[in-house]
Symmetry: C2
Subunit: 231 residues, 2 copies
């Protein structure tokens, strides 16, 4: 048995998941990063994920190609549904919600964790400055963890898998300060739902809006490169 | 609103899931069948699933291509691990267990159900004559259902999704009798872990063994076509 504990880190290429990777690394985990090409219109984020994983010394980075666009139902995977502009605080679940996305991502993480012998999975969900997605809430993560421990060989054998959500109660500004303290360069991350072909953020969608507001509140420069006219 | 309720049916092409489809159809559901090409060595089963879905009048049949072989760890997805012979009753979880497979399959079913507006998902898991997989147990399914109702828009809005497991407490012989009563032709199904290129069952693996024993116990002819030397 190696002394280094392995963890699976869900890494999108965005601000939150990059911060989570830095946190897991600083906790001493060997980090196995997992990204998805799932039919998202902003699949350019995966290129950012690749760079971040390399820069932060991930033990491995896998990119799984899975088809969520087949099912549609979201502005992020259906080109016929427009990405709405940033609206500040929405109460309803917005059209950018991808049905069961985090459930599917965590299920793949669970599969890989079991094969790796990892008992720790990290995900950058956040229930403060977030888009109101049901699968970002603490009660969802707790329920997933309970299910996961009944789903797998290791669970049956009495080992417990933990789903870590180190950002769940942080504001976006707090997350940014945390990452900067760990030496993260947020210019290497991207949070836009409709990245331009050359990897620039739109500066208009909900995700850009939340990110932008976070930098403003943290009182640090926003290093994001926006398309002309974005912010 | 249509009066016909929609259900998502996980359909492998095997004996159990075909029986589940017949049950859901007879309950009056419009059946949306979902199959997976996931890197399984017996992906010929998907052709059987196609025929069954058509014969039983499914409203739609989708085949999602997803990559579970990437993670390995199972004789069903890793060609370097041999499929073991039927051993009667194993206590340990066998090497044919695919890490988190049912979790992943149910997560996709959840995504599709949400887009369809379906509140019912059917899966043919069985905890009697089964291979000892952790994700076939009632406690796993119950935990998945709880999680699913926290994961989705419909759950947040107060609608409850149900995961139906009509076979979970039936013996293989009971399942076969149930399907025959519903007019199922089991020659159109296949349960083998290592189907031959021309779609014949090996007659040696755990899944063939359980199926064979079921027909014997039910006292009906086994219509399965085996390779020469199998049974």
């Amino acid at each position: 048995m190696s002394d280094v504990k392995k963890a699976v880190i869900l890494l999108s290429g965005g601000l939150d998941s990059a911060t989570v990777l830095a946190i897991a690394r600083d906790l001493g985990y060997a980090c196995y990063c997992l990204s998805f090409v799932y039919g998202q219109r902003h699949d350019g984020e995966v290129g950012y994920a690749k760079n971040i994983a390399a820069q932060l010394g991930a033990s491995e980075h896998r990119i799984a190609t899975i088809d969520l666009a087949t099912f549609g139902g979201s502005a992020l995977t259906d080109r016929d549904i427009a990405v709405p502009a940033y609206g500040g605080s929405e109460i309803d679940i917005p059209i950018t919600y991808v049905p069961a996305r985090n459930t599917i991502f965590l299920s793949y993480a669970l599969a890989w964790a079991e094969v790796l012998g990892a008992l720790d999975v990290f995900i950058g969900v956040n229930a403060v400055d977030y888009s109101g997605y049901p699968d970002c809430r603490p009660e969802f993560v707790t329920a997933f963890e309970s299910m996961a421990n009944l789903a797998t060989r290791r669970g049956v054998e009495g080992e417990r898998l933990t789903i870590h959500t180190p950002l769940i109660h942080h504001s976006k500004a707090e997350i940014i300060r945390l990452g900067l303290d760990k030496g993260l360069d947020y210019a290497e991350t991207v949070s836009c739902y409709q990245l331009s072909a050359d990897g620039l953020a739109c500066g208009m969608c909900d995700s850009c809006g939340l990110r932008r507001a976070g930098f403003l509140e943290a009182g640090v420069d926003d290093p994001t490169q926006y398309v002309q006219g974005g912010f």
